[in-house]
């Protein structure tokens, strides 16, 4: 059975590592990126879910989300937007994100959101 693939985008390496470790523990296959130039990866990897931090160095997560949602090949990929600004929820959803999580989040909340979006870590 193939593991479900999640792409995590965050410019903070520490949080990138932590989320990666947690979700790997849950059984998902994880790829990470520290910047928003993720299209080559997306095209190659075809992730089942993208966890996208809204504030990237020099880039806006919402622009990335908009671009993903405007491409035929990628628009079906669910996006969970993460931000330290709780008020960013509205903007995130408008930009095309399917779900919003505010930092600092509880780990259980993250797992629950990912699970709701993807179901079990492995494809049936």
């Amino acid at each position: 059975m193939k593991k479900k693939k999640i792409l995590i985008v965050d410019d903070d390496v520490a949080i990138l590592d932590v989320i990666k470790m947690i979700l790997e523990e849950e059984g998902y296959e994880i790829r990470t990126s520290q910047n928003g130039s993720i299209f080559p990866i997306v095209n190659k990897l075809h992730p089942d879910l993208i966890l996208l931090d809204m504030l990237l160095s020099g880039e806006d997560g919402r622009d990335v989300a908009k671009k993903l949602k405007s491409e035929k090949k990628t628009k079906y990929i669910p996006i969970v937007m993460i931000s330290a600004h709780p008020s960013a929820e509205k903007g995130s959803l408008q930009a095309g994100a399917d779900k919003f999580i505010a930092k600092p989040f509880e780990i259980e909340e993250l797992i629950s959101v990912v699970y709701k979006a993807l179901g079990p870590a492995k494809h049936n």
Binding site: D12, I15, E25, H85, K103
Partner: protein, 793 residues
Amino acid sequence: MVESDIFLSTCKKIIALSPDVLYKLNPDGVLTFLSDSFEEITGWKKSEWIGRSFKDIIEKDDLPLALEIFTNALQGITSTSKHIRVKSNKKGLLVGDFNVFPDIKNKKIVGVMGIARDITKWKRKEELYRHYADLIESSDSAIYSRNLKGTVLTWNKAAEKLFGYKSYEMIGKNISSLLPQDRKDKVKRVNERLKHNDDVMDFEINMITKSGEIKPVTAKISPIKDSTGEITGAAVFSRDNTEKAAEERNERFLSDATQILSSSFNYNKTLKTLAKLLVPVMADWASIHIIDKKGKLIRLTVAHADSRMTRYVKNYEKKYGSTDNENSGVKRVLETSQSQLYPYISKELIEETIKDEKQKELIILLKIVSAIVVPLTAGKKILGALSVISSNPERLYNKKDLKMVEELGRRAGQAIEHAQLYFEAKKELDRRKEAEKALRQSKEELEVILKSIADGITVQDATGKLTYANDAAAASSGYNSNEDMLKDPLIWSKVFYIQNENGEEINPSDLPGRQAIKERKEKQMLVSFVNKYTTQRRWALIKARPILDTDGRVKAVVNIINDITERQELERRKDDFISIASHELKTPLTSIKGLLYLLRNTLKDSDNQLVILDKIDNQLSRLSLLVKDLLDLSKIREGKLTYRTETINISSLVSDVVSDLQQLTRHKIIFLNGINLNIVGDKDRLSQVFINLLTNAIKYSPNNKYVKVMIDKYKKDIRVRVQDQGIGIRRDEHDKIFERFYRVKDAKDRTFPGHGIGLYFSREVVARHNGKIWVESKKGQGSTFYVTFPIAK
């Protein structure tokens, strides 16, 4: 013609021309001849009387005398009779002098003949003269006449009485002998004047009587002319002028005295001068007593005509002039306010009234003969007493003198009063001048302070008009000087937009100055001024404090304009930093949480390390809470705190908060609810407010067992009270606790755990719900927080 014929005709001619009447009578008394002048004098015709008896023409009363002369003449006796009255054919009788002698012919008496002279005119003049002389003699006025050299010609009885000289002593003497030595030339001057004109002259002059007394008299001098109209002398009418002169002297004296009294406000000095003036003109001895500030009677001065006597006078007054002595005139005057007149103090009177032998002796030694004591008055106030004493039996005081001295007492009293008023006024004036000087000084100092102060300071009057601006105020408003600002105070409002704290544009009338005038209390406002052309923004905290007059009306308002642009900038950076920092904290927090989660998963339930992980988790939660608080704060500062609006039942909201908290505390939360009302607002934010208030109540009353929450309706509002019995809050902190980061300290200067954000947040939330929040508390006596909201319609 024979010689005898010539003689006879000459005689006849003489007889015809003579003014006298020649007559002849026969022995029977029948008129046989009358000369021509008879007709002219009597008005009768000669023919009417020739052949008639002389008895018919003589006035009846004078007939016996006429018959006697006639009979004598028949017997050869010649006689002369004067003043026999004769009837005439004119008005009235004629008076004649008659020479009667016998008519002898051939040595025989054949009849009587004689000459009659008409003296009627003379007789009348003589009578008139006699009449005038009687008048003059019986006149009350002294009347005398004098020639051009001043020699006395007549001197009437009144003159004798007035001057003491008998007429025989004076007639022939020069009138100048009655004048005092230094006035003798006066007569010469009168003589000169008489020579040159005939005006009546009036004089008031002192003359010396026979007894040597100086007598003031009036003299009215009328020129006397002879029949040719030449002035030969003068009639002088003189009257005793003593009384009038005395009055005048008194008046003059009063006037002199008044001049002295008003010459200086140093009444000690002027009163001394006054006493000296009284002696010896009015008195032999004068003394002045005054009542000093303590109400004590003190003798100010004594003057005696004989300076050697002053010692005795002082001695006398010391012993007997004071208020202790029954007989003291000063005492009586002060007690009764009535002046005292002792017209004549005779030896008998002294014997009668004075018991003290020594006093008697002194009175006799000092020759106290007559005395006046009057009060020194100012209105009804008695300020002292003036005593005037005469030692001269010739100078006995009468009621007129009393009046004069009383007047003097009044004037002296007035002078004292005026002097005292003057000194009081001067004192007050000096005090005012001093105060003014101090005021001016402090005003100048204030001016310097205001000039050098960095804050802008302006003053508006009650109408809001600018009346003062210091340099800083002018500079920050774009003026070159404060004078420019006062000249045109509204220019700046054309250059700047004014905005309130929330960036909303406001009018100059919304500024706290006008508000302070309106509400009569201090107002404060944070405003920013944006230059319309440069868009540069300055922030200012404006405090307006009204100045009230004693009636509580606004006189003026002082605006203190504190330019806080730099501070505001600093605040903004701080807020930015807090905002950024708290955001930046979130990511590591999340990381740590994740790592803890991962670590926990590697441990078994029985592992002791799980306890440590729990504690790390707890601390992490606190950290998260702080970050959340800080973010809320940032949002409030940025105006980005969002609110939901829904209808909330306030009672159930508070009730929920109470139940939640009750599970977490050992304090008993007593909840009293008296209403069932709704408000519109954000449930979560309001819950947070009551959580804050209740956790504070619990936190700051560590030694108490319960806190109280009460909800009721108060006036038109819903009122929630959160009450504790804790450490309380000092009055000066009642407002500060609602500022951010402010934390109350306990008695030992320790702060309590917390961020100083809760109440700041609560105030913001309550304000956004159109409510109010405040505290009533005293240090050490617990606190009650009040929250009120308008009731939802």
